[in-house]
C-alpha cells in the first residue's frame, strides 16, 4: 500500500517532468503526436484486459469511449462556465476535471455492466457482433440527443486543468494528464494480471470449462474484465474530448474500435507491452506516411490513401509471418530479463 502511494507520486512527478520537457524543448506538432499515442495506449491496454487476457472478442471499445466523452464533457462545460453559450476556452479546475473523469469512468463502467452481463454469454463472433452493435447504437443514439449537441456534438470543452508552474506552457497540460492515466492504467493492469483475478481471467481464456470446474465463476469474471476495460475506455474518451476541446458522436465509429483491436493483434494479444507497442505503431504509421504521400503528390504521381494501403499490406504481412503479434503473449520486460539475467538468479521465482 505504501509502495502504491510511492509509485503514484513517482508517476505524478514523471508526468510533470515529461510535460515540462515537452513544453520547453519540443515543437507542438510532435507533442500532439505523443498525446494521441497516449490516448491510444489507454484504449489498447484497457481493451487488452478483455480481448487479450480474458480472450473475449469485444469490438465495442469506441462505444465506451463515446459514453465517457459525452458524460464528462457536459459536466466539465457546465461546472467550468456555468452555461452552454459560446465564449473563450478556459481551463477546468482540478476539482471539476476530477469529478468529470470520475463520472465518465463510472458511467462507462455502468454501461459496461448493462451491456456486458447479457452480451458476454455469447462467444466468439457473436460477442464481436453484439459489441460492435452496441458501439454503433451508442453513436447513433448520441447523434439524436439535442441536449448533447446532436450530430455536431459538443464544443468549447474546457482545457485540462493547470498545475502549479504550468501557466506559461503553450501546449497546456494535456500530456501530463494523459500520461498520468497511462501510468496508472499500466500499473493497475500489470497488478491485475499478476493476481488471483488475472490468473482466473487467463484460465477462462485458456479453457473455460476447466476454469468453471475449478470453481471460477466465469460470467462474473468476464463482466469484471469488461467493466475494467469500459471504465478506462470512458476515461480515454473524456481525455480525448478535453484534448480536442470538441467532440462529435462520429469521432467514435466502429473504425476506431477496430483500430484498437488492430493495435492489440499487432502487438500481441495478452501482452501489456505488446498493446503499448501496437498503439504506438498504429498511431504513428499514418503520420509517418503523410510526408511520403505529400511528396508523391507534389512530384505529379499522387497516390491518395497511400497510408491506408501500406497499413493494410502491413497487417496482411503480419498475419502471414507473425500471427501471434510482435510479442505474442509475453511481456517485453520478461523477455529481456530472461536473456540478461544469469540462470542462477532466474530461479528466484521458486519458493524461498
Amino acid at each position: 500500500m505504501a509502495r502504491t502511494i510511492a509509485i503514484f507520486l513517482a508517476a505524478l512527478a514523471g508526468c510533470y517532468g515529461l510535460n515540462w520537457f515537452l513544453a520547453e524543448f519540443i515543437e507542438v506538432v510532435y507533442v500532439d503526436y505523443l498525446n494521441l499515442i497516449g490516448i491510444a495506449i489507454i484504449l489498447a491496454v484497457s481493451l487488452n484486459v478483455v480481448n487479450g487476457l480474458t480472450g473475449q472478442f469485444s469490438l465495442g471499445h469506441a462505444g465506451f469511449m463515446a459514453v465517457g466523452a459525452f458524460v464528462a464533457s457536459p459536466i466539465s462545460i457546465w461546472l467550468t462556465y456555468g452555461e452552454f453559450e459560446s465564449g473563450p476556452l478556459a481551463h477546468a479546475s482540478l476539482l471539476h476535471f476530477g469529478l468529470a473523469l470520475l463520472a465518465c469512468g463510472v458511467g462507462a463502467a455502468l454501461v459496461g455492466v448493462v451491456v456486458g452481463a447479457p452480451a458476454l454469454r455469447l462467444k466468439g463472433d457473436y460477442l464481436a457482433i453484439a459489441t460492435l452493435g452496441f458501439g454503433e447504437i451508442t453513436r447513433i443514439m448520441l447523434q439524436s440527443q439535442d441536449i448533447l449537441g446532436g450530430p455536431t456534438g459538443l464544443k468549447r470543452i474546457p482545457k485540462m486543468p493547470q498545475l502549479p508552474g504550468t501557466a506559461g506552457w503553450d501546449g497546456g497540460t494535456s500530456t501530463f494528464w494523459i500520461f498520468l492515466v497511462v501510468a496508472v492504467l499500466v500499473i493497475l493492469t500489470v497488478r491485475l494480471q499478476r493476481s488471483t483475478f488475472g490468473r482466473a481471467l487467463i484460465a477462462i481464456r485458456e479453457n473455460e470449462l476447466a476454469a468453471e470446474t475449478m470453481g471460477i465463476r466465469s460470467s462474473r469474471m468476464k463482466v469484471m474484465a469488461f467493466v475494467y476495460g469500459a471504465f478506462f475506455a470512458g476515461i480515454a474518451g473524456a481525455l480525448f474530448a478535453h484534448y480536442q476541446h470538441s467532440v462529435r458522436p462520429d469521432d467514435f465509429t466502429a473504425v476506431r474500435s477496430i483500430g484498437v483491436v488492430v493495435m492489440l493483434v499487432l502487438g500481441g494479444l495478452g501482452s501489456v507491452t505488446g498493446a503499448i507497442t501496437g498503439a504506438v505503431f498504429v498511431t504513428l504509421l499514418p503520420i509517418m506516411l503523410r510526408p511520403v504521400e505529400e511528396s508523391l503528390a507534389s512530384s505529379g504521381t499522387p497516390i491518395t490513401g497511400l497510408s491506408m494501403i501500406v497499413y493494410a499490406l502491413l497487417l496482411i504481412a503480419f498475419m502471414i509471418f507473425r500471427p501471434q503479434g510482435i510479442f505474442g503473449q509475453r511481456e517485453l520486460s520478461l523477455k529481456l530479463l530472461r536473456s540478461w539475467v544469469p540462470s542462477a538468479v532466474r530461479g528466484k521465482g521458486g519458493k524461498p
Binding site: 500500500m1 502504491t4 488471483t196 483475478f197 484460465a203 479453457n207 475449478m214 471460477i216 475494467y228
Partner: protein
C-alpha cells in the same frame, strides 16, 4: 461410513440416444470407487452430470445432502466436487505453479481492489495460494517444474498437474477421468500410489474412471461397471472379475 454421493435413476438423452440409462451410484465417504466399462459406455457422461457440465434428463444427483441437478460447474465445485479431464484441459499459457494456484481462486476472500492496490490482504492471499500450490505440486511430484509453462510438460506430468489443480479446490470428492490413459507401466504404478495417497493422506474420496483393469482392480474397493449406459454389475474387485456379464461386455459373447 456415510454416503457422500448418490445418484438415483440418473438418465441423459442426446436426441434419440440414451447415453446413460438409470444409473444408480452410491459412493461412501473415504472410499476409492471405480467406474469402468468399455468405450462409449457413458462413463464420462456420468462425470459430466456429476460436475454440472450436463444437466441430467431424469434422475437426481445428491452430494453431501445437497441436490446437484441444475447447478453450474462453479456451484458444484463450491459443494466440494472436483475433477480431471479425459482430454487434459490445463491452462497452457500459465506456469505449472499458476495452474495449481487457480484451483484456490474460489477460496480467495479478497476483492479486486485489494489486488490493484496491493494491500496486505492481497499479499497474504498470494502467499497462501502459492504455499498450497507448492505443497500439492510436491504431493504429486512436480515441485521441480513449478516455474515452467504448463504447455512444456510431458504427457504424464500434465495428468499429475491436473490432479494437483483439482486438489487445490479442496474437494471432498475428486473424480479422475482416465488418469492412466497413455501412461507406461512404471508411470501407472506411480499413479496408483498417488491415487491411494489422495485418499489416505488428504482424506479425499476418489471416484475413478479407468480402462486399465489392473490398476482399477488393484486400488478400488468397490467397482461399478457400465455398458451401453446401463449398470451391469457392482461390487468388490473379486466379484467384478468373475461376473459373467462383465466378462461378456469386455471380451464379447461366446
Amino acid at each position: 461410513m456415510t454416503c457422500l454421493l448418490k445418484t438415483a435413476q440418473l438418465t441423459i438423452r442426446f436426441g434419440g440416444l440414451c447415453a446413460v440409462d438409470c444409473c444408480d451410484l452410491e459412493i461412501r465417504e473415504g472410499e476409492l470407487f471405480g467406474l469402468i466399462g468399455p468405450n462409449g459406455a457413458g462413463k464420462t457422461t456420468v462425470f459430466n452430470m456429476l460436475t454440472g457440465v450436463y444437466e441430467p434428463s431424469e434422475g437426481t444427483v445428491t452430494f453431501n445432502g445437497a441436490t446437484v441437478n441444475g447447478m453450474s460447474p462453479p456451484q458444484v465445485a463450491a459443494l466440494g466436487i472436483s475433477r480431471t479431464f479425459q482430454n487434459i484441459r490445463l491452462f497452457d499459457e500459465l506456469s505449472v505453479l499458476e495452474n495449481a494456484m487457480t484451483g484456490a481462486h474460489r477460496h480467495a476472500r479478497i476483492n479486486l481492489f485489494d489486488s490493484l492496490l496491493r494491500t496486505k490482504r492481497h499479499h497474504r492471499e498470494e502467499a497462501a495460494q502459492r504455499d498450497q500450490a507448492y505443497e500439492l505440486l510436491r504431493f504429486v511430484g512436480l515441485e521441480e517444474r513449478a516455474g515452467l509453462p504448463a504447455k512444456s510438460l510431458p504427457y504424464g506430468h500434465r495428468r499429475k498437474l491436473e490432479i494437483a489443480r483439482a486438489l487445490a479446490t479442496k474437494p471432498k470428492l475428486i473424480c479422475l477421468d482416465e488418469p492412466a490413459a497413455g501412461m507406461n507401466t512404471g508411470e501407472k504404478a506411480e499413479l496408483s500410489g498417488l491415487i491411494r495417497r489422495i485418499r489416505d493422506e488428504l482424506k479425499v474420496t476418489v471416484l475413478l474412471i479407468e480402462h486399465d483393469m489392473k490398476l482399477v482392480m488393484g486400488i478400488c474397493e468397490r467397482i461399478q461397471v457400465l455398458d451401453y449406459g446401463k449398470t451391469i454389475a457392482c461390487g468388490t474387485p473379486a466379484e467384478i472379475q468373475n461376473n459373467p456379464k462383465v466378462i461378456e461386455a469386455y471380451l464379447g459373447a461366446g
